[in-house]
């Protein structure tokens, strides 16, 4: 039994100690710098961890993200500062936070140092404040985040820099109760950059988080429209006879800036264009970069064709080679899209099939690469569905997506001159950004008989006409005199 009276209470207290794992002792952060670049619908956060190993042969470093921050993050990448290859990440969720385990490129010895960079893109992280704005008022957005960057390890010094694109920042919160960590001022501002820190000797365990962690917000002006694509439905149809890949996007665009207060004045809008002082939250046109070799582009909405577009094409490049130039499609919606307004449209284009499909003669396998989406600059896609329609009679279909999808499935799509229908592969995604323009690869096989199926079905229909004519010639419908 216990000798001293405090042994049992001490055991109980130590069992209740903050639950960071023994990994909390393996590293030490000599510095953490978090840089937040504010945008409209997208916010780019880049966190640099200057890491020092305290125990030998460490191969995994853990990065912590709070639950709220992980929910807002739609793209993550960790790499060593200065290098381009991303490091392998695996995610774990505990009751209070998300832990990302980064596999270091090589094991660190004791006192070995490394600079790791975690880049993330956050979506739906800003909101317009005030929520309503008249046509000529500026667009003001608010961004909120936590003051301290959490980490399972001790941090010697950390700072957070928030950068706004426009130099006028309306207001920012001043942190309270941080005097124990601060040597100079707790927050400074220079132009559009606000620096919180440096804060010294931080250990973000649950006790610290409960006592000192606070939310900071920045109220800033943003000079471009905040756009959201509510739904994107992309259909890619492969035709072997026509040697053509047709890509069609059905887009529901929403201006997620401050909603319009009052009515829309066309006179004021034209005046703004004439004096080149356009309000920042009005979308009048945008530019898309389409693949080289685009032909037969179309742009229509519910009313019909929209003629206010301009396409500048570029000759096509061979499959797999990096395109140096892109075809440029400038689109002007039928009406300027003000805050809170929606615009739905369909665009589509054809590209030659030899730019996207490769053929393995030995195994008879075709491999096609279809991009997930064409990025509209500065937008986030809330829900995307990509459907790839393969030629009729395609078998042994295998597919892979560049990043994890919400769901995938196969279906049958019936189109012109089809008898059995064409197999289609569908992927659904959520919260896509400009970082998600990867390529989906699908491999399939089409036997020669499947190619001839269309010809034979048309031929059978024509032959039935001939058979009918054959019968009709032998039927005597003349009236005979009795």
């Amino acid at each position: 039994m216990a000798r001293r009276w405090w042994t049992l209470p001490l055991l109980l207290v130590s069992a209740l100690a903050p639950s960071f794992s023994l990994a909390g002792l393996a590293f030490e952060n000599t510095a953490i710098v978090r840089t937040i670049e504010l945008g409209g619908s997208l916010v780019h956060v880049s966190t640099t961890y200057a890491v020092k190993a305290l125990e030998p042969r460490q191969t995994t470093y853990q990065i912590a993200l709070s639950k709220a921050e992980r929910a807002k993050t739609s793209w993550l990448e960790a790499k060593v500062k200065g290098q381009t290859t991303p490091l392998e990440l695996s995610e774990d969720e505990s009751s209070t936070e998300h832990l990302l385990s980064v596999s270091l490129p090589k094991a660190l010895a004791v006192n070995g140092t490394l600079n790791l960079v975690l880049e993330t893109v956050q979506t739906h992280a800003t909101h317009p404040f005030p929520e309503q704005a008249a046509q000529k008022e500026p667009q003001l957005l608010k961004y909120e985040t936590d003051l301290f960057t959490i980490s399972p390890y001790v941090t010697l010094v950390q700072r957070t820099k928030i950068k706004s694109m426009a130099p006028n920042v309306i207001s920012y919160t001043t942190p309270h109760d941080v005097d124990s960590f601060v040597r100079d001022g707790s927050v400074t501002r220079s132009g559009g950059t606000i620096t919180y820190g440096p804060y010294n000797d931080i250990q973000t365990d649950t006790y610290f988080v409960a006592k000192h962690q606070q939310s900071i917000s920045v109220h800033y002006s943003f000079d471009y429209p905040v756009l959201e694509v509510e739904t994107l439905r992309r259909t890619a149809e492969i035709s072997h006879w026509g040697s053509n890949l047709n890509i069609e996007d059905k887009i529901h665009l929403h201006n997620a800036g401050p909603t319009l207060k009052g009515h829309f004045s066309r006179l004021e809008y034209q005046g703004q264009i004439y004096h080149r002082r356009q309000a920042p939250h009005i979308l009048s046109d945008f530019t898309l970069h389409l693949p080289p070799g685009v032909t037969n582009a179309y742009f229509y909405d519910q009313n019909g064709n929209v003629s206010t577009s301009h396409l500048r094409t570029v000759p096509s490049v061979a499959k797999g080679s990096k395109a140096t130039q892109y075809s440029v499609l400038e689109l002007r919606p039928r009406y300027p899209v003000l805050g809170g307004w929606n615009y739905s449209y369909t665009i589509g284009f054809d590209t030659p099939l030899q730019d996207s499909v490769g053929y393995d003669v030995k195994n008879g396998i075709y491999v096609v690469g279809v991009p997930v989406m064409t990025n509209i600059p500065g937008t986030v896609v809330d829900n995307a569905e990509v459907k790839i329609i393969l030629p009729e009679g395609a078998t042994n279909i295998e597919f892979i997506s560049p990043f994890p999808e919400l769901s995938n499935g196969m279906s049958t799509h019936i189109s012109y001159l089809d008898t059995a229908g064409r197999p289609a592969v569908t992927f659904t995604y959520k919260d896509l950004t400009y970082k998600h323009t990867g390529i989906i690869y699908v491999s399939y096989q089409v036997p020669v008989s499947a190619h001839l199926k269309k010809v034979m079905s048309v031929g059978a229909a024509l032959f039935s006409l001939f058979a009918f004519a054959f019968m009709a010639r032998r039927v005597d419908l003349n009236l005979h005199k009795k």
Partner: protein, 87 residues
């Protein structure tokens, strides 16, 4: 993404890049001319079919009808592709 899935993605990406590009049986630029020739010959054969005598064993009629149907099948598919409906 896990390492295994990343590797297979990179493998298929490299495969896609290295494979020779797709080449159709019939080059796409020739399709309009082929459509015209085949449909014209289908029309001519259909006319010839209508002038054939009515035999008891319709050998000639069947032959002409089959040839016209096959040529018409190819012609209609080429026609669809040349007007932009890539079937």
């Amino acid at each position: 993404m896990s390492a295994a899935v990343m590797d297979s993605y990179e493998a298929i990406q490299a495969l896609h890049k290295s494979l020779p590009p797709f080449s159709p049986y019939v080059p796409a630029s020739l399709l309009p001319s082929i459509a015209l020739i085949l449909l014209a010959s289908t029309f001519a054969l259909a006319f010839y079919f209508s002038t054939l005598p009515k035999d008891t064993f319709p050998l000639r009629e069947t032959a002409v009808a089959s040839l016209a149907s096959v040529l018409g099948g190819f012609g209609v598919v080429a026609l669809f592709c040349s007007v932009g409906v890539n079937v």
